[in-house]
Symmetry: D2
C-alpha cells in the first residue's frame, strides 16, 4: 500500500508540521482507523517545545475518534466501517504489567513485562492520530465501539482527558461525604472535578485564576473556586474548611507549587492524588508531611486505557451524568492543525480543548 | 493518693533522669497499670537529644507491659491484677479520625476530631511508661490482655516496634509472590522484614551494614541482605532483580538517602511504604518518579494501636509465626534506665532493643 | 430525677402504645437528648408484628433528631442545647469489632468484643427514641451536630434509611460506568438508588410496582424502572442490558424472590449487595451461582453509624447532592404515633416515611 | 501437519481413553507445547462421571508443564525449546472481563466480553493437556517460563491447585492475626491452608477425616485439625475459638454441609471464601446469616490464570516458602493414564495428586 495520508509530524523543537506519510500496513493484530476527529493535548505541546523527547518524524496525537478502515487478520469482534475510539494508552493486555492490573505501565515485549509509562504508545513510541489514519495496536484490547447517538465531539475527551481526570478522583479513594481540593482547572483538572463529583465528594474546592476555567469548574462540580491570584490557596482552603483540611487533594498541573499546596491542605491521613506531568524534582516539606507519620498517601496516575475503560467513559457521557461539551472551545480541520497548535500552545482566546476534524 | 513512684523524666536536652513523681489519679475511663517491663525507642532518643520537642517534666516511654493496678469507675471488661499491654498509640475510639479508620491520627477533643500523630500520647502528650506506673487513657479501647503462656519479653515488641514494622508491610499492599526491599534493619526495619514475609512476599532484599543486624535480618525473612558499605544498594537491588525492580519498598530509617533509594528500586506501579521519622525536607527526583506518570504510591504510616491491634500482634507471637526474641539484646532494671539510655542512644555493644524491668 | 416523659412502648405483639416512662438518668458517658423529630422504620413494624423479638416495655425507635438536654460528666466536645442527631447504630468505638472496622457488629462488653448486630441498640436492646427523650450511649462517639441551615426533616433520613441505602451502594464496590440494579424501592431501596448514582453508576435500573415509588425512584437516580407486575424483572433487566447483566445488584426488600433475582441479573464477577432483613432461609440456585465458579460476591450490610458517618450523611444533604425530602410523605405529632404506626404498618396512602414531631 | 499424538479423550460418561489425535496446527497467536508432565484434577473426574458436560472427543486436562515446540507467527518473547507452564485458566488478556480485572470470566469473542467461567478453556472448551501436545491460546498472555532449578513436579501444582487454593485465602481478605477455618483438605483445601498461612493467618483450623490429609494439613500450616467423623466441626471450631468464631472460613469441597458449616463458624462481619464446585442448590440458613444484617461476605473464586499469576506461583515454590511436594503421591506415564484415572477417581491408596509424565 503506497497510498499517502496527511499527518502532523514532529520535525524538531518548535516544529510540528502537517506532511504526507504512507498509510501504514495492517498487521494481524492491528486495526487501521480513519480518524474523523482528534484533539491536541498539553503533552503534545511539551513535545512541540522539545520538553518531552520523541523521535523526529513521529506522528503526534493520542486521542482518536474514527471509523475502522481495515482490520488485521486476527482481529475478531469488530467490523470495518464501525465507529470507534481508542484510548491514549493502548495496553497489550498480555504483558505482566497488564495481567497484574497496571495496564498503563505495559511492558509488552520487554524482559520482565513492565515499562514505565509503557502503555502510552500513540504519538510517543508509535505514530499517533493527528493524521488521516492511525494504526491501533492490539486492536482487540483497544477498539471501543461508539454508540450511534453520540457525536464525535461528545466522546472526544474519553481517550485521555476524561480518563485521566477521573483516575485522579478514583486514585484518591474518595468516599461519600469527602471534601476534595483540585489544583488547576485546565482540561484534566476540570475532569478531575467532574470525577470527584461523580464519586460522591460533597464539597469540592478548586483552584485556578482564569475566569473562563473557573466558570466551567463550577458547572462541572466545584462548590467553591479559589482564585490563586487573589488569595493563597492553602490559606483559603484551610479557611473554607474551618482548619480541618481536605480528605483528598488532586494535583493537576505538574509544578512544585501545586504539589506542595496539595500536600499542605490535607487533613491527617489524607491522600494526594497527583495527575500532573512534572518537569523538575519535587520537594516534600517536612512540616507538610508530619515528618512521615501522618498516614498520608501520595499517588500518581497515568491515564487508564483499553476498550473497557473507554466503554465506561462513553457510558458516563451517554448517561448524561457528566457533560464535557464545554471543554471543546475551538474547532479546526486537520489542514489547519498548525494554526490549532499555535492557539493551543499559547493558550489564546480562552481555549480549553480544540476539536480537529478530517 | 500522694504515693510516689519512680519515672524517667525529660528534664532538658540531653537529660532524661529517673526521679520521683506522684502516682497518678485514675479517672473514670482510665486504668492505672503497674509497669513490669518496658523498653526504649529510637523516638525516645530523639526526645533525649532535643530533636523532638516534649514538655519538660514529662515521663518518657510508650511501650508498656504490666499489670492492672486500678480501673476507672466506667471501665468494664477488665479486672485488677490482670496482665496487659497497651499500644504506643492509644486511640480514643470515639474521635472522627478513629471512626473513619485512622486511629493513629486521633483528634479526640479537637474541633474536627483529627490531629496529626494525635494517637501517640504516651511519652509525647501525656506521661509515658518508663515508670513504675502508667495511666492508660480510654482504657477500654487500649488494654489488651496478655495470655499466661507469653512472657513480658515476648510481647514487649508488640506495642510499637512490631506494630509499626508490620504496618510498613501492610501499607505496601504486598501480594503473594512480590519482591520487597527493606531499607535499614534496625528494630523497626527488622519487623518490617518479618511482616513482609508474613504477608506472602517471596523475595525479600534488605539493606544494612551492621553485621549483627544483617544476621537477624536473615533469621526474620531476608532472602538477600545488601551491605550498603560494600555496594550501592540501588545498583545491587536492580542487579539482584535482573533490572526489574521490586514491587514494594519499605523505608525504615528516615533519611533522604534511603527514601530516594527506596523510590529508585521500584518497578513501575510500585509502592514505597515509608516508616521512617524524617528530620529534613525530602526530595523526589524527577527521574525516579517517572515525571509523575508511573502509577506509583508513597505511603506513610504511624504505628497502629488499640487493643484489637495489640491482640493481633500477640497472636502472631503466640502462634510462633514470628520470633522477635532476638531483638532484645540487653536487660536493665528501671533503676538503671539512665545507663540503658546511654547504651541505646549510642548504639553500643550491638544493641537492638533493651528490656527494662521494674 | 423522677420526671416523666411520653414514649412509644412495645407492650405485646400488635401493640405499641404511647405511655409514660421516667426520664432516664444520665451516666458519665451518656447524653440525654430531647427528641424533636423522629420516624418509624420498617423494622419497627417487624417488632410491632412480633416478627422481631424485643423485651416488653422497651421504647421503640432508632432515628432521633433532637437537642442535647444533658451531658454525662465525662462527655466533652458538645454543649447542652446543641441540635444533634445520632445514628440508628450507636457503636461504642472501643470494642474489638469497632477497632477492627466493624462498628455495626459492636460487641462492647462481650468476651471477645463482637456481637451480631450488636451496634443496633436503640429500640432493640436499650430504650429508643420514639419518646420525648432518649439516652444516647457512648455519646462522644455518637452525637453529631446538625448545621443550623438544615431542618429536622432534612436530616431525618440520616440515622438509618440513608446510611443503610448508601451502604448498599458502597458495599457493591460500584465503579464509574457500572450498571446497577436495585430491587424494591421502599425508603431504603430509594436511598440505595441515590447512593448508586452518587458513587458513579451510569445506568441504574430499579424494580418496584407502586407508582409513587417508581416516580420517586426516577427522581433519585433510576434511569429505568421495571414494574414487576408487568414484566419479569430478571428478563426485563437482561433485555435492557442486551444480555450482559449488571455489575452490581442491590437487594432492598428481604425476600427469596428479590434475592434470587438479584443474583440472576449479575454479570460474571458481579456483586450482590444485600440490604434486606430476611425472615426465611435463602436458596442460592446452582445455575444462578455458576456452580460456585463465577467470581461473585454476596455482601450484607447493617446500617453504619457513629458521628463521623452521620456527619458525612449530613454533608450529602447539606451539599444538595441528594434531596431526600420526597421521602417524607406524612407528618404526625408524638401524641398521634399510634395512628402513624397504623398508617405506616399498613402502607396506606402512598406512605414512604412519616415525620413524628414532639 | 498430519502427525499424530496420544491424548486422553472424553468418549462418553465413565469413559476417558487414551487415543490418537492429530497434532494441532499453530495459529498466529498460539503456542504448541510438548507436555512433559501433567496431572488429573477433581474436575476431570466430574467430567469422567458425566457430571460436568463437555463435548465428546475433547482432550481432557488443564495443568500442563512442558516445552515450547512451536510458536505462532505473532508470538514474541518466548523461544522454542523453552520450558514453560500455562495456567488452567488461559485468559485472552483483551476481553472486557480481563481488562476489568476478571480474567477467569474472560468473554473473549462474546458480545459484551464476559462469559461465566469463560477463562477455563483447556479440557473444557478446547483440547486440554493430558496429551503429548497442547495448543496454548493467546500464548503471550499464558506461557510462563520455568526456572531451570525447578523440576516439573515442583511446579505441577501451579497451574490450578495452588492458584485456586491461594485464591481462596486471598479472597478471604485475610489480615495479620486472623483465625481461619478451612473445610476439607483435599489438594485444593490443602493449598488454601498453605495460602492462609502465607498471608499471615496466625491460627488455622482445618477439617477433614482422612488421616493422611490431616497429616499433610499440619505440615502446610494447620494449627489444629478437626476430624469431622469424631466431632461436629461447627461445635469444635466454636469451642476452639472460645465461642468467638473465625475471621475467615474457606470452603474447599462443594457441598451444602461444608458451605453451611463455613457460614456458621464466622464471627460477625466474617467472610466465607468459597472454592468448591457445587452440584446442588445451596441453602443459607437464616440464623447463620444474622437475617442479612451481619456484615458478612460470601465470595466465590475460579482459579486465577495468566502468565503473571503463574510466575508468582513459581516464585512461591522457588523461594521455598511453601513445599507442595507432599501432594504428589503417585506417578504414571501418559500410557498409564486410564489406570491413573481409576486410582484418582476412586481415591484409592491415599492419593492426593498424580504426576503423569510423557
Amino acid at each position: 500500500m503506497t497510498a499517502k495520508m496527511k499527518a502532523a509530524i514532529f520535525v524538531e523543537k518548535n516544529r510540528i508540521v502537517l506532511d504526507d506519510k504512507p498509510i501504514p500496513d495492517v498487521g494481524p493484530m492491528d486495526a487501521l482507523v480513519r480518524v474523523t476527529t482528534t484533539t491536541i493535548c498539553g503533552t503534545d505541546v511539551h513535545i512541540l517545545k522539545g520538553e518531552y523527547p520523541v523521535e523526529k518524524g513521529l506522528t503526534i496525537g493520542h486521542e482518536p475518534v474514527g471509523v475502522i478502515e481495515k482490520l488485521g487478520s486476527e482481529v475478531k469482534g469488530f467490523t470495518e466501517g464501525q465507529r470507534v475510539i481508542a484510548g491514549a494508552i493502548t495496553p497489550s493486555g498480555w504483558s505482566n504489567a497488564c495481567l497484574c492490573g497496571y495496564c498503563s505501565q505495559d511492558g509488552a515485549g520487554t524482559k520482565h513485562g513492565w515499562k514505565p509509562i509503557g502503555g502510552w504508545k500513540f504519538g510517543n513510541t508509535i505514530d499517533g492520530c493527528q493524521a488521516e489514519y492511525v494504526l491501533v495496536p492490539d486492536a482487540m484490547a483497544n477498539l471501543a465501539a461508539v454508540a450511534d447517538h453520540l457525536t464525535d465531539e461528545e466522546v472526544l475527551m474519553c481517550p485521555d482527558i476524561m480518563s485521566t481526570g477521573f483516575a485522579g478522583a478514583e486514585n484518591g479513594g474518595i468516599r461519600i461525604g469527602d471534601t476534595v481540593a483540585v489544583f488547576a482547572q485546565g482540561p484534566i483538572g476540570l475532569c478531575a472535578t467532574a470525577g470527584a463529583k461523580l464519586l460522591g465528594a460533597t464539597r469540592i474546592i478548586t483552584v485556578d485564576a482564569v475566569a473562563a476555567r473557573m466558570a466551567v469548574s463550577r458547572k462541572l462540580g466545584a462548590d467553591e473556586v479559589v482564585n490563586f491570584k487573589e488569595a493563597d490557596p492553602v490559606e483559603a482552603i484551610m479557611d473554607l474548611t474551618d482548619g480541618r483540611g481536605v480528605d483528598v487533594s488532586i494535583e493537576a498541573l505538574g509544578t512544585q507549587a501545586t504539589f506542595e499546596a496539595a500536600l499542605r491542605v490535607l487533613r491527617p491521613g489524607g491522600t494526594l492524588s497527583s495527575l500532573g506531568v512534572y518537569s523538575t524534582d519535587l520537594k516534600i516539606p517536612l512540616d507538610a508531611f508530619s515528618a512521615g507519620l501522618g498516614d498520608n498517601a501520595i499517588k500518581t496516575a497515568l491515564c487508564p486505557g483499553g476498550k473497557e475503560r473507554m466503554r465506561r467513559m462513553m457510558e458516563v457521557i451517554g448517561s448524561g451524568r457528566v457533560d464535557l461539551k464545554p471543554l471543546v472551545t475551538h474547532r479546526y480541520s486537520l489542514d489547519q492543525i498548525e494554526e490549532a497548535y499555535d492557539l493551543f500552545a499559547n493558550q489564546r482566546d480562552g481555549v480549553l480543548k480544540v476539536a480537529i476534524s478530517t
